[in-house]
Amino acid sequence: MLDKFFYPKSITVIGASNKPYKVGKIIIDNLTMSYPGKIYPVNPNEDEINDLKAYKTVLDIPDTVDLAIIVIPNIAVPKIIEECGKKGVKFCIIISSGFKETGVEGAKLEREIAEIAKKYRIRLLGPNCFGVINTDNNLNTTFSPIMPIVGNIAVFSQSGALCSTLLDWAYKERIGFSKFISLGNKVDLNENDFLEYFVNDKQTNIVLGYLEGITDGETFIKEAKRLTKNKALVLIKSGSTSAGARAASSHTGTLAGTEEAYTTAFKKCGAIRAKSIDDWLDIARVFSNQPLPKGDKIAIITNAGGPGIIAADSCEELGISLSDLSSTTIEKLRKKLPSSASIYNPIDVLGDADPSRYSFTLKTVLNDDNVYGCIVILTPQAMSRPFETAREIIKVSETINKPILACFMGGILVESGIKYLEENGVPNYLDPKKATISMASLIKQYYNTLRKEENPIVFEDINKEQVKEILSKNDALSLDFIDCMKILEAYNIPIAKYGISKTADGCIKIANNINYPVALKIVSSDISHKTELGGVRLNVKNDEEVVAVYNEIMTCVKKYNPNAVVNGICVQEMIKTSDKKEVIIGVNKDPQFGHLIMFGMGGIYVEILKDVSFRLSPLTRSDAYDMIHEIKMYPLLRGVRGEKPVDIDKIANVLMRVSSLVSDFKNIVEMDINPLICLEDSCKVVDARITIKR
């Protein structure tokens, strides 16, 4: 779809100029300097620009036009888009600013141009963007003075300033790009269109993205997943923390903010998240030069203890293992290295290591099948010859297809070595920790390529119609207890036995049917935190206690809110046994990514320790189990100090059923199952809240 966008046969620059330092001048200069296709400048006040005939309007161009670059004042843009439409232009890049980013008036103008473009089926990039570069055909529609070198990294960025920064940095570091896109205000073309394009773009092996927001979460996950199966996607996502701090009535609502949704979405689609610009660039560089490791075990070679330990510590933090070297490798190292060298990983080749010792060790270690990659650390010692050592490292890197990252530490003494390494494709890091972060990203991408698609479980034993009926007859946005329980039952989610009555006598009857002890709870949609105001009483043991507790609850509630509508008192089965555990399952609908499902230990653990895990719906079987395993309190579910374990399979089943429920009913915006009581061989929902949106 975007072929003509990146490979246009003819281009027009609307607003091209002869005046020095004007954007319209720089862009036409950039294009005429390198772009081999046809260029048509448009400017009603000029006859000729850069030796090319200038046209009064786009309609006057005696040729078809694939791509228009628009560099005129904002207010004139709608008219120009209209003309482009009449001309049959397929793509427009609007460099001009003065749209949504400036306020209400600008936003109105932006909507106007979007509508015109839609009418003529023109695809728009921008407005308020920096343009596009394609190194494959020397297309540079930006006003950057730098044309990047050819490489395999594609970039899309929501910040134009970051684009020019990245171009400048990469040029200095001799890092090349395939395609370069400044997204601007994303009125039409957005990250998802480009992700889709990069899946099959032969020039691109790595995609870097800077995003402040995502246009359509579901498509993003789908396209990013497709891309990461073969190519690395390294993203910086900013501006998602404070947005998440919205007032919400449920636990899930407060815990499942925007930041969690993004984190979960990136995890789901295999995107690598860079935590800083520095990391972003480091990771970009390593992917552009080094092969992927075929596993998560690496070796560290160092000529000094300290940096080796720092690297080893950081590996542990990032989940990278240090390889156990094979006995053959150890034997070989023992024979050649000085007796005081440490031949166990990290391998300390000692301060007096010369280039040949480095070379021998690196070769030997990388030939070990347990080693999937290597970090080579060099500190400047009296006998170190950084430049020659760098040369040896490069020689080894040319013969073995495993990633090698260098960590020549210091300043002037190691400078020449670092320069040689980087010119020849081995990235160098001054800090061992940074080398491990890059290695971890390579490993992560390797596992992305192994990822198998797993489909969510489809349940047959559910009653969709019943839920549809309950939801349609409901006026309230927050469903009452009975409706919540009925919805769960319709999806075959096990619930505790209960009955509801408006009289003490009725409660006694229910209690006797269920068997004592029972719990008594107020049922009222006007009261959300029942426990705190005494609306819940546990362990009610006989008829007399039922009457007493019934009256107490009613008094408490009246005191709290005299106007609260009380639907009755729920008499519920008490789940006796000391080995029970309470967990919470929650759902919150994220505006971008849809239903975010949360799991955690109930009560105090979720509220105070925020010990919860998240996944986006629909859940696969592995999602459900991973969520349970991820919480810190997981050992509690397995039983600590002689307690019996709870049935994890049953919990996973409830998670998948909840996911199935919210996938079927998109208008459920919030849901809490709190608690789900878990026992050795079963689990039961004791309380639930569901909020819907009309």
Binding site: E607, I608, L609, D611, K632, L636, G642
Partner: protein
């Protein structure tokens, strides 16, 4: 009792060739340093147990006291919530059966203890670091310390401010503030306990290897050590 008495207790334990103090001995040392402990008496037999239970007032807790049994709970050596003489007799008989399981256990007797209710269980401990000497640990009891390792550390001597920081540093701190309708713990009593433990650790630095007060009951008013274990170097 005075500080000399703590040395006497330790000396006696060492003479018996032991490194582990019983709960009763450990808590005697705590009380010398002013750390409040549960009201309790060491009973030699059932009759004495009944007498002490009446003095203390039901409900009581019954615990086996033996230097050979350090993990009392795991062996069924702790009976809580004893409400009457009849229950006490049953519990006593049960406790004595431990002898069948731990052969040759030297049993000092049975500890009759007041049963505290309504409080947060915290853990207060001390270990020796080879570099820094005694290190004081504070955390919430039970799973918080065991599973989450939600604890804070400081090196004595401690100021009041240090002790307060230790308490507030743990993630579960809101529980001590009475989150979700729970008990609001007496912060000053907790701070006092930490400071007294700090003093004890420095005084007995040469003697102690590690120690635990687990749990220390942090009530609305006051705190009390419910169980404690001291290990000698």
């Amino acid at each position: 009792m005075s500080k000399e008495d703590t040395i006497k207790i330790i000396k006696k334990v060492r003479e018996e060739g032991r490194k582990v103090l019983t709960e009763y001995e450990s808590k005697k040392i705590l009380s010398v340093y002013g750390i409040p402990i549960t009201r309790e008496k060491l009973a030699k037999d059932l009759d004495e147990s009944i007498k002490f239970a009446e003095e203390i007032g039901y409900p009581v807790v019954l615990k086996i006291v033996s230097p050979d049994i350090t993990h009392k709970t795991d062996l069924g050596g702790v009976k809580i919530g004893i409400k009457s003489q009849k229950e006490l007799e049953e519990a006593y008989t049960d406790l004595m059966r431990i002898k069948d399981r731990v052969k040759d256990a030297n049993i000092h007797g049975v500890l009759v203890q007041e049963m505290l209710r309504k409080g947060n269980e915290v853990i207060l401990g001390m270990t020796q670091d080879p570099q820094f000497g005694p290190v004081i640990m504070f955390g919430l009891g039970g799973v918080f310390v065991e599973v989450l390792k939600d604890v804070s550390f400081k090196i004595p001597p401690l100021t009041r401010r240090d002790a307060e920081d230790m308490i507030k540093e743990i993630k579960a701190y809101p529980i001590l503030e009475g989150a979700r309708g729970g008990v609001v713990s007496d912060m000053n009593a907790l701070i006092d306990c930490i400071l007294k433990l700090s003093e004890l650790s420095l005084d007995l630095e040469e003697e102690l290897k590690e120690m635990d007060i687990n749990p220390l009951f942090a009530m609305e008013k006051g705190a009390a050590a419910v169980d404690s274990l001291i290990l000698l170097r």
